[in-house]
């Protein structure tokens, strides 16, 4: 929502590392989280995303570096005093308390008098549209209702930041979409910072202003969902995010479009704005699956390849095609169902894929030619 560049950072990770014995979970992480933004931290399991969130919540101590909240170092401040409430993957609702008492918990710990406590808890239950469940036991709630209780419980103290650790991972697909809407709207209405840890690209992209991609304890890329989707900064991100095809090659010719030599032939790429390239540089060409055209006849352009149809995966109006290139590697294409239907492909049929030089994205994979 917010214009990131103009706001001041609410949270700063300044060279933060976390080691467990010999294992480094987070490597010198530098990250600024702005007031009022929805930031998603995404990565495969074990990438350090949850550890980072737990350090921010004060549930883990950084081994190195400094975490600042509102400009103040908080390394030594215990979780109890931080007001950085978290929504847990397991939800961690108290099974021996009813809904209302669960929501009141944070206020009770802060010595808020009983009447005010009840009023504020009810206000949040109402806001989450579960006021009628106030007297229920946690065990009587459905997955989505529990989710709402967990949100109300975390927000009842009216914090400036809310931490969410894969809160939707236990819900079924339909409910996930609904809760994404709820979370998105809530964050915009409250205007507070949400830090959302997930391994799901659709969750991260659907809700957040900025996305952090982590791998093996390091930040691979930080940017808007669109930046990350269209311009992955590293091969890891290109592989992890979206449906990308990656061809490795070396620069054969510069000037105008780049000519890149790969095992499958020569391809043209738009040099774009991303620095100068030299002949002999190693590059990965990223071709997003949704920017590929397919045809039965050879389109006779330079950026085309013949491939063999393997299978298709039908998800509503968009179909993902899996094909095999002449060298045996995979190629993915996303296209509209009705375009594909016209071609009536069978397994083993050959067809052509082609793409525009301007629709490619380049990732440097090495220094000047070491060949």
């Amino acid at each position: 929502m917010s214009d990131s560049s103009s706001s001041r950072p609410l949270v700063t990770f300044d060279g933060v590392s976390k080691r467990y014995g010999d294992v480094t979970a987070v490597h010198t992480m530098n990250l600024e989280i702005y007031e009022g933004e929805f930031l998603a931290i995404m990565g495969p399991s074990g990438c350090g995303k949850t550890t980072s969130l737990r350090m921010l919540a004060g549930l883990e101590d950084p081994s190195d570096g400094e975490i600042r909240l509102d400009g103040q170092r908080i390394n030594e401040i215990s979780s109890v005093e931080r007001d950085t409430p978290m929504v847990w993957q397991s939800l961690a609702l108290f099974p021996f308390l009813n809904v209302q008492k669960n929501v009141e918990f944070g206020l009770k710990m802060r010595q808020v008098p009983s009447e005010e406590r009840q009023a504020r808890a009810r206000k949040w239950l109402e806001r989450m549209e579960i006021l009628e469940l106030a007297e229920r036991d946690i065990s009587q709630l459905s997955g989505g209702q529990k989710q709402r209780v967990a949100l109300a419980r975390s927000l009842v103290t009216e914090p400036r930041i809310l931490l969410l650790d894969e809160p939707l991972s236990a819900l079924d697909a339909n409910l996930v979409i609904r809760m994404q809407g709820v979370l998105s709207r809530l964050q915009k209405e409250l205007g507070i910072t949400f830090v959302y840890v997930t391994h799901s690209q659709s969750e991260a992209f659907a809700m957040s202003d900025r996305v952090v991609i982590m791998s093996q304890g390091r930040i691979e890329q930080l940017g808007s969902p669109k930046e990350i989707y269209r311009s992955p900064a590293s091969r890891f991100v290109a592989d992890f995010v979206g449906a990308n095809n990656i061809l490795s090659g070396t620069v054969a010719q510069v000037g105008g479009n780049l000519e890149i030599e790969t095992a499958l032939g020569m391809f043209q790429c738009d040099a774009g704005t991303k620095g100068a390239h030299h002949v002999g540089d190693s590059l990965d060409i990223v071709i997003s699956a949704d920017l590929v055209q397919i045809s039965l006849d050879d389109p006779k352009t330079q950026n085309s390849l013949q491939c063999r149809f393997i299978s298709e995966e039908f998800v509503g109006s968009i179909v993902t095609l899996f094909a095999e290139l002449p060298d045996g590697s995979d190629f993915k294409i996303q296209t509209r169902q009705r375009d594909l239907a016209k071609m009536s492909l069978e397994e083993g049929d050959t067809f052509f894929v082609s793409w525009n030089a301007t629709d490619t994205h380049l990732i440097s994979s090495g220094r000047s030619s070491d060949a």
């Binding site: 919540a57 308390l97 710990m109």
Partner: protein, 268 residues
């Protein structure tokens, strides 16, 4: 299908036989406690409460029940507290020597009771603490704490570790989280441990016999009556002891089971 049926019938029969084997002596004892004959013979005489009346006319028996009551309740409180602390330490912390700590904590019930009683007497006599009610309490706490720990530890193994962190995250100090989250979560196990340790202490003879001195507990007085004369008084007092401790044990089991059934039904 029919083979499965006959097998299950056989197994059921076996279970019934085991129960008969276990409970016949107790049932027999109860029957003779309300039988008018002086000696346990068949055919039975007529129904009587005479033996119970005799028992309760004896002030020594009353005294023994008083001592046993005080001892078992005090022991239950202390042993449950110690058991809870031990179980929580095991749940919450990792430290070197934890395996040793645990095996030491669970050791007392594996020591033969006679040895334990002798050792307790030797120690307590040396420090001038034997022969008092608190001597029995001390010895029984040693004996009972591991049972309390085992029951509470089982409950803690089911807790979602995020619950405690969630309490801290919502502003609860360590102590507050213990009071507001850990203890309420363990409440059924704590109640169950209380009943169980009370029953163990109420029943225990060997150690009590060594350290009780003049403060005889019920099992000790039973032996004394038995040595003096064998009449159905023994059956009467035995039945009372049996009913008391069975009630406690069944209560302990019910409290635990009700909680578990609740939770499997709702899938927490």
């Amino acid at each position: 299908m029919s083979q499965g049926n006959s097998k299950s019938l056989l197994l059921r029969g076996y279970v019934v036989l085991v129960f008969i084997f276990v409970f016949t002596p107790i049932v027999t004892s109860f029957i003779f406690s309300v039988n008018s004959d002086r000696f346990p013979t068949i055919p039975l005489g007529h129904f009587t409460t005479h033996w119970y009346e005799t028992i309760f006319a004896d002030p020594d028996v009353w005294d023994a029940f008083r001592v046993s009551g005080i001892v078992s309740i005090t022991v239950a409180i202390l042993a449950t507290f110690i058991g809870f602390c031990t179980a929580y330490t095991d749940y919450r912390y990792n430290f070197t020597g934890k395996a040793l700590y645990l095996s030491l904590a669970l050791l007392p019930p594996t020591i033969p009771l006679v040895i334990m009683g002798l050792a307790m007497l030797a120690l307590l006599a040396r420090i001038n603490m034997s022969g008092e009610i608190y001597s029995i309490v001390v010895s029984h706490v040693v004996l009972c704490s591991p049972f309390a720990m085992a029951v509470i530890r089982m409950r803690l193994a089911q807790i979602n570790p995020d619950l405690e962190s969630a309490a801290w995250n919502l502003g609860a100090s360590n102590w507050r989280a213990m009071r507001e989250v850990i203890v309420p979560f363990c409440r059924p196990a704590i109640a169950s441990a209380f009943c169980l340790t009370a029953a163990v202490s109420f029943d225990e003879f060997a150690v009590a016999w060594f350290v009780s001195g003049l403060n005889k507990t019920v099992p000790v007085i039973i032996l004394e009556i038995l040595q003096g004369n064998t009449d159905p008084q023994i059956n009467a007092i035995g039945s009372i002891v049996f009913i008391t401790s069975m009630t406690l044990v069944i209560l302990a089991q019910l409290i635990l089971m009700r909680k578990t059934i609740n939770q499997t039904a709702t899938g927490i």
